[in-house]
Amino acid sequence: MSQTDPIGNDGPPRQLAAPPLITVRKLSLAIHGAPILNEIDLAIQPGAVTALVGESGSGKSMTALALMGLLPGGSTTTGQALFDGSDLLTLSERAWLGLRGDDIAMIFQEPMTALNPVHTIGAQVAEPLRLCGIRRAEAARIARDRLDRVGLSHVPLDRYPHELSGGQRQRVCIAMAIARRPRLLIADEPTTALDVTTQAEILSLLRSLVDDEGMALLLITHDLGVVAGMADHVAVMERGCIVESDRTEALFRGHRHPYTAALLAASRPPPHTPRPPDGTAILEARDLRRTYGAVTAVDGVSFTLHRGESLGLVGESGCGKSTLTRALLGLEPLQGGSVTFDGTPGGQSMTRRQRARISVVFQDPYGSFNPRWTVRRIVQEPFHLTGKPRDADAQAARALTEVGLTTADLEKYPHEFSGGQRQRIAIARALITKPQVLVLDEAVSALDVRVRAQVLALLSELQDRLGLSYLFISHDLTVVRAICDRVLVMQGGRIVEQGAIDKVFEAPAAAYTRRLIDAAPRIPAEWLAARNTPAATG
């Protein structure tokens, strides 16, 4: 599909005339006999961004590792990956040492663990230079230059990673990767762990590196919005195969494969139609204040959650939303203000019976369950609050069927389930005591887009059927818009804006809200509109 390009005339000016830097031909990979990649064809152009998109387990990271010669033990490959006329797949480890860092470099998803905490950032950026024999002083000078290039000119070389924010650390990782001016930079989900405004900054930095230095960038991501804003060329991966690849705009406008269509649909859940609140408050917070020593994490927060309503709480990491959640659940003391839950004092002064009526679903589908417990025991744990009813097993079975699992799953252990299924178990556990309020703490953030869409649909359906009120905490505006009636925007421990979801999105009053909305990567509407009128795509 990449060769014949009937709709390339109106594309961006970046023309792909130069021969590809890397040509991957029929790359197949098996690890311990299990097939991972299946006849991948990919061309990476110099001075351009090539994106690999797919869900977890689609093989996109393995493709990158194959190009870095970092495949795990037990891997067998067939096919070719030509770079400068030599096949990367057949290089010896010794030959790789000359290539990695010099010609091909990589940055990873998690900037918190990608840097060594006991070395200064200067030493870490200089390390790849020292390895190729550059003298210490010269290496330090280049390190300074590279750090300036990634926008850290105000940060001295002798800083340690823990003194920097997540975004700054990712910049250090980029500086390290580009220290020896590689011709190919592989970025594996480089912004997934970052806040949306930081993500926008890192992406524009990467884009400018590609444009200024003529570097090729292989961007691995699950986020089609990021792809739309960044990539020149996109390859969509599903279960080890590239199902579709094309120039970015062409792919969005004229995608043919059903998987691409499904991904696109799931990544843009339709905005929720807000329902009028029924007016009775179920959870009310008045002027909440939580301090840790001199730090004020929650600073005068007030809001009301109505019966049957979905209230979104949006903010970036460190804004105090997790602290607020724990305080509302009665897990942390408050230094000021009051919580009212269904007409009685809430927070830490809740009785066990009241606590049973407010439940929570957490983000991490892997850390949410004791790995040694069966689902039966996991789902029944909240009965600790109410005393175990006589028909506990029947109720657990009913809770599981309610979230779309089966009674047979009761005897299984958490590791037997996928991420999406685990999140269903977490919802079943939250529902077992028949709560009125469900706190969803980044409950869909760790899920693939298609699974996310399913869980969101389940949540709306449960809300309609059981009359639940949701406090939906998220950093992802798209998701909030898809499920919430009203939204609170939190920054630095304060609520900076609140209101009906449409109003906040269409006419944000606070500058911070506007910044959040602008920074969120999105697919240009006209790329997708073209899809609906076939004449425009031809």
Binding site: L331, A356, V360, Q363, F369, E381, P382
Partner: protein, 267 residues
């Protein structure tokens, strides 16, 4: 791991067997049959009192294993709850008190204090057990606390708190089952150290008293005859080495087997 398990099983089997049967009664001295070379009646020969060496080693295995087992039991029984408690109270003064108390015990050279205890309260197997056991407590407390801390940050612990469970209950239901792997490994290592400590105490005459057989005292008894009758020292020495080696191999093997991060490289 397999070698370790076989060695450990061999010694444990010998100790168990000695409960019901030994080739010869070690409390009975038979000066006429002293210093015999190996023979069908005495497969490993006899010592200077005419006691059967094989029987002595079997009885000694029983003493060593019993002392080390109870000492590890003391360490597990007191150290693990302390460690879990400290982890549950992390960041508070209670955590500090428990862990600094541990540091206090760590600061003393263990064998010297064990000698002191047995010297003050009289040499006996029970006192040796207590002395070794006390120094196992901080080891287990540290391991338990260190392993428990990351578990306290996981969402399932948070979910249990939302379900109204207290710290004690979370510690036993959620934390303890998930750190048992580490504790088992640590226990095998402490067990081998306990055997060494018991041998050392018996060697200086502060462990189990005659007529109870003990590897350490067999070594001490044989010391004067090391040039004339080297087998008397070599046999208990080899036995101690074999037992400790077996336990260490078993501990390493268990760690490789139980730690998912190392599993791929496990033999």
């Amino acid at each position: 791991m397999l070698i370790g398990a076989v060695l450990t099983a061999l010694f444990a089997g010998a100790a168990l067997l000695s409960l019901v049967w030994v080739p010869h009664d070690v409390a009975r001295l038979d000066i006429a049959a002293r210093l015999l070379p190996p023979s069908p009646a005495h497969p490993l020969g006899t010592d200077h009192f005419g006691r059967d060496m094989l029987s002595m080693l079997m009885e000694g295995a029983r003493t060593s294993i019993a002392v080390a087992l109870v000492a590890v039991g003391i360490g597990l029984g007191l150290g693990v709850p302390l460690g879990l408690w400290a982890a549950a109270a992390r960041g508070t003064w209670l955590d500090d008190v428990i862990m600094r108390g541990n540091d206090l015990i760590f600061a003393f050279p263990s064998l010297v204090i064990a000698i002191l205890i047995t010297a003050v309260f009289g040499p006996s197997a029970v006192n040796a057990i207590l002395a070794i056991g006390i120094f196992n407590i901080p080891v287990f407390a540290r391991v338990a606390r260190g392993a428990a801390l990351p578990i306290w940050t996981l969402d399932y612990v948070m979910a249990a708190r939302v379900a109204g469970k207290g710290k004690a209950r979370i510690s036993t239901e959620h934390v303890l089952p998930n750190i048992t792997n580490l504790l088992i490994v640590q226990a095998t290592i402490q067990f081998s150290l306990g055997i060494l400590a018991e041998a050392a105490l018996s060697y200086v005459g502060l462990g189990a008293q005659p007529p109870t057989a003990s590897w350490g005292r067999m070594l001490a008894d044989a010391q004067t005859m090391i040039y004339t009758e080297p087998q008397l020292a070599v046999l208990p020495g080899l036995t101690i080495v074999g037992m400790v080696l077996g336990l260490n191999l078993l501990g390493d093997g268990l760690r490789d087997h139980l730690d998912p991060r190392l599993r791929r490289r496990a033999p």
